[in-house]
Symmetry: C2
Subunit: 324 residues, 2 copies
């Protein structure tokens, strides 16, 4: 496939093009992903998550510099489910970051939600798979929060870094919302601000007993703006990667990521089928429900029958040769 | 059907039983709903939404008293997507409310999420349909926030009341989050607190130009605890119901509710099918994806073929007699 050849040859425009095709679910992009997927599984995917105002973007920029100083290529995927595609703060941060790294071995991509139904999670998983197959040894996925936004960072990343800052009351908020539990590392950014020492102490208490086999969750004070603590943070991230590869936890997370990718892909496919294949009959049935001629459940039963028929008609004819 | 006969005969235990059957998707409950659904469409469904701490429960209790004073029966459905079924504040509020109204013409039901996949929205719609068919002229649906929690109050309620209070910074927050736009009435609760006058003024400015044909969104200061402003609030709710019934907006909302009920039911049905009908093959395919033998999209394509087959096998044989 031409695009894969261009990526392998190091054409700088080929990878952005592939990611766009994957995001748009272009058949050429999905076919390329099928080809590339078996190549992957070698990258260390690091998730950076934390509330707005915690300085995630600055932290990612500092980490990128540190990873480059260690001689490795690095890709950044910044996911912002709340922004429209042309919008706001994330894009601005991204542009500043690109200016900082006019470096061919740093690849930066941002992904916004576009208000798509069920589409962001599979698109993000596809982008990570493509970056992995393209040979980046480290992929940073930056996202706000966990879970609620439809992107479960744990299913994309092998190592999850939860960022907190003093002064937002976020320590307590994060503990309440269960965000800390997803972290393999807890980072207190802006550690020179008042309250940082208290927050570190609170997080250390909260982190006791968390972690996975062979790994205790460290709490690391850093200042992304000055660079203080960043070498130690990268060392801890790398150490977590080594622990994962050495034990059963890494394989468990690979399987969980695979499960999440399949499930979110299946949901998205069913949503697309709902949207595309039943619109005429759906309108009539909804009219009947609105007129109270039909209960919603009865309408759903009719639509499922219709979907089954449409799916069978549209499926690969080879499928007819299946046994059973 | 026995349960419907008991509801019609006024057996106080029959309606709670039906709602439990509907929530659990028991076939007897869904069959009863099919029978009851054409009877409905007469109730005025009033949604009460607002942030935690805005005093929604107290406001609902005050409204219930006022509706009873007007001689009407009333049902309350309190939805709390964040609580487990046995949990917390909502249940406590509900119990206090039940003690207040040891009144056979007030029916109160709370519904929590139980962590169900895709199931809360159809369950809530089913409960409203059952309460409607059971003859309650007013049904109050109380829920936190809008949209994000999976329950879109606009698709359940004909009249939406958005509650705000001074001192939480909620006026500004709600405007940012687009919550005000869903309100047919805006209520400033705890209107005796400092800042209430400013909040009322801010909301009046924000509400200008909102509303639907024949309806300008009023901003009503009330004190649910003392009862100040509650008669005026009920009068405004009733007036909105009259405006809806008189114009095209009521029919539009009925159709939107029908559409949402069908779509959420369809999603839930597909989720159940994913969960129940493919678990063996799904496990094998996920293993193959985790081992990088197969791309997630290829696994999804195989599962869709499998789902089509399962659905066709499981469908009503009468379906085979359809034309086309």
């Amino acid at each position: 496939m031409e695009l894969i050849r261009r990526i392998d040859a190091g054409d700088p425009r080929a990878l952005p093009r592939l990611l766009t095709l994957i995001e748009n679910r272009d058949p050429a992009g999905l076919a390329a992903l099928d080809t590339l997927y078996p190549r992957g599984g070698r990258a260390h995917v690091v998730g950076i998550t934390g509330p707005p105002g915690s300085g995630k973007s600055t932290l990612v920029a500092a980490l990128v510099s540190e990873i480059r100083a260690s001689g490795r290529r690095v890709a950044v995927l910044a996911i912002d489910p709340s922004s429209p595609v042309t919008g706001g703060a994330v894009l601005g941060d991204r542009i500043r970051m690109m200016e900082m790294h006019a470096d061919p071995d740093v690849f930066i991509r941002s992904m916004a939600s576009r208000g798509r139904v069920g589409g962001l999670a599979p698109a993000a998983a596809g982008a990570v798979a493509a970056l992995d197959a393209a040979g980046f040894p480290v992929i940073i996925v930056e996202t706000v929060g966990t879970g609620q936004d439809g992107i479960d960072i744990m299913t994309l990343a092998q190592t999850v870094v939860v960022v907190q800052v003093p002064g937002l009351g976020d320590g307590v908020q994060a503990i309440k919302a269960g965000q800390l539990e997803v972290g393999d590392l807890l980072v207190v950014n802006k550690a020179d601000l008042p309250g940082a020492t208290d927050l570190v102490r609170l997080l250390r208490q909260s982190a006791e007993g968390l972690g996975s086999p062979g790994w205790e969750v460290p709490v690391l004070p850093v200042s992304a703006a000055t660079g203080d603590g960043i070498p130690g943070l990268l060392a801890a991230i790398d150490r977590h990667g080594v622990v994962l590869r050495g034990g059963s936890e890494g394989a468990r997370r690979q399987r969980e990521a695979a499960s999440a990718a399949v499930m979110s892909g299946l949901r998205a496919a069913l949503e697309r089928r709902i949207a595309s294949e039943t619109s005429d009959e759906m309108r009539d049935l909804i009219d009947a429900v609105a007129a109270r001629d039909l209960a919603p459940d009865a309408a759903v039963a009719q639509l499922l029958t219709r979907l089954d028929g449409a799916g069978t008609r549209g499926s690969d004819p080879v499928g007819d040769q299946r046994r059973g």
